[in-house]
């Protein structure tokens, strides 16, 4: 991912919206007795799209914002979310994502890891109440909800950050490709674009994460 200032602003807005949606919408839902958590979905998606550094920084920022808004212990959510964001990014750097079902599966898996990690941190910080097996059920259900949420959210975030993605290819029939900075439509079935302009890679300014 090429992180320009504009892309950084977009990522910040995505995280802000995700945190506000989580505290004012998703946290109120009780589906089969569990509450969906959208933050691991967003952080892992950003890690899968942007790599380990982007995932870790976004996880840290999202956790800090969440803990601040909810007046919780600062650093707990940050520690967990930056870890899963980093791991998601490392996975992406080591293996390409070719299947459409892979991101939701990965997001569900990393959410399971995040929920279990949060439980572990809380236990280390001293939960002095009886812990029931329903906690395990909640963790598993949160992972399933995350997998379902990933189906709309992963493509949406990917689309939002498309200028920064070096390997972005839309999956619709009429593909939009960039040639010499101009947008041209190429018909399906691989017909060549009629253009007199020489093909060149658009110049971008920014850091490659």
């Amino acid at each position: 991912m090429i992180v320009t200032n504009r892309i950084a602003i977009r990522i910040a807005l995505i995280l802000l919206v995700a945190v506000i949606l989580q505290t004012s919408f998703f946290s109120y839902l009780s589906i089969l007795g569990a509450t969906p958590n959208v933050l691991p979905v967003v952080v892992v998606t950003l890690g899968l799209l942007g790599g380990a550094v982007v995932g870790a920084v976004c996880g840290f920022a999202a956790g800090l914002l969440l803990d601040s808004i909810l007046l919780q212990t600062l650093g707990v959510s940050s520690l967990v979310l930056l870890s899963v964001g980093y791991l998601a990014g490392r996975y992406r750097e080591g293996a390409p994502i070719k299947s459409r079902l892979l991101p939701p599966a990965l997001i569900a898996g990393f959410t399971l890891l995040a929920a279990a990690g949060l439980a572990a941190v809380e236990l280390m910080l001293g939960v002095d109440a009886a812990v029931s097996l329903l906690v395990v059920r909640e963790i598993v259900l949160q992972a399933l909800f995350a997998g379902l949420l990933a189906f709309p959210l992963y493509p949406l975030i990917r689309f939002t950050l498309r200028p920064a993605l070096v390997d972005y290819t839309p999956s619709k029939r009429g593909r939009l490709i960039r040639l010499g900075g101009r947008r041209r439509r190429r018909a399906a079935h691989g017909r060549r674009v009629r253009s007199s302009a020489p093909r060149r890679v658009p110049r971008r300014v920014g850091r490659v994460a």
């Binding site: 506000i20 946290s27 007046l71 600062l74 520690l79």
Partner: protein
């Protein structure tokens, strides 16, 4: 070049992890007026109006999702309810005999509900946010110190006890629910008056545990619990006396060597569906409870 990237990546990870650990440990040791708490309250204050707007705007969607969830659950509960109807019919006769006793109990409960709270000013507030995990059972309300709300004030809803105020900004406050892992409420079983401590069972918002009730104290199902609100002149319970908490749902048989019973309590308040709550502020001075 690649090695440089790897070093940079690892350095960022280490810095962020260390920063998180510093934040955690600093906040535990820092005073309430410290820079981290101030930063946190600043962020909460700035984003509270945005959260409130989002909460109002998304309520119809939330209600729709809840409707689907409740419909799904209702189908599963139908068979259980049919069995319960048969059982309840048999209990009606027994309950009619106990009607006289219940009448006295209701009068006592009503007295407890109204009389002790007379000295408190009630601040009605809307719930504008809640924590996403089972570990932090907290909600945010849209009134804070500017409305007269103080730390450790009790929070109630129409059904009973919700929790207490644990943190404040001028326009918002954090309510620690009675299901939060760090919460403990001194409670009295009505009408026989046995006193114990109500603690949460993490992961199950519909179950509380009543502890420290001696195994020879008779506690029956469906008995009501209210806050004890005790004070010995030096330290006091944070909650005023007489606020309904819940009803005894089951009691585990105590082992012969066990000193205390293990009693399950179903809270009166549906903590997942909180809309409006009341903060009981002011009232008589409770020694040992910081205001």
């Amino acid at each position: 070049m690649y090695r440089k990237q790897v070093r940079r990546r690892r350095a960022i990870l280490v810095v962020l992890v260390v920063l998180s650990l510093i934040l955690i440990s600093s906040q535990f040791s820092e005073a309430e007026s410290g820079p981290l708490h101030t930063f946190q309250r600043g962020v909460a204050t700035v984003l509270a109006p945005v959260g409130e707007v989002a909460e109002r705007a998304l309520k119809p969607v939330r209600d729709l999702v809840d409707w689907f969830d409740e419909t799904f659950q209702a189908r599963g509960e139908n068979e259980d309810l049919n069995a319960q109807v048969a059982e309840l019919r048999a209990q009606v006769t027994e309950l009619q005999q106990a009607a006289g006793e219940n009448e006295q109990f209701e009068k006592l409960l009503e007295l407890d509900r109204t009389a002790p709270l007379g000295g408190y000013e009630k601040v009605t507030a809307r719930v504008i946010g809640r924590s996403p995990t089972v570990w932090f059972s907290t909600v945010q309300i849209d009134h804070g110190s500017s409305a007269g709300v103080e730390k450790n004030d009790a929070v109630v809803s129409g059904e009973g006890l919700v929790g207490r105020i644990t943190d404040l900004t001028p326009n918002t406050a954090q309510v620690e629910l009675i299901t939060d892992h760090s919460n403990a409420v001194s409670a009295q079983v009505m009408p026989n008056g046995a006193t114990g401590i109500v603690e949460p069972e993490v992961g199950d918002p519909e179950d509380l545990l009543l502890d420290y009730i001696s195994s020879d104290e008779p506690v029956q199902e469906n008995q009501t619990l209210v806050t004890a609100g005790w004070s010995n002149g030096q330290i006091s319970s944070a909650y005023p006396p007489g606020i309904p908490i819940g009803r005894v749902s089951s009691t585990d048989a105590a082992e012969p060597e066990q000193e205390f019973q293990r009693i399950h309590v179903e809270p009166f308040v549906d903590l997942r569906e909180l809309g409006y709550v009341q903060v009981l502020t002011g009232g008589e001075d409770r020694p040992g409870v910081p205001g």
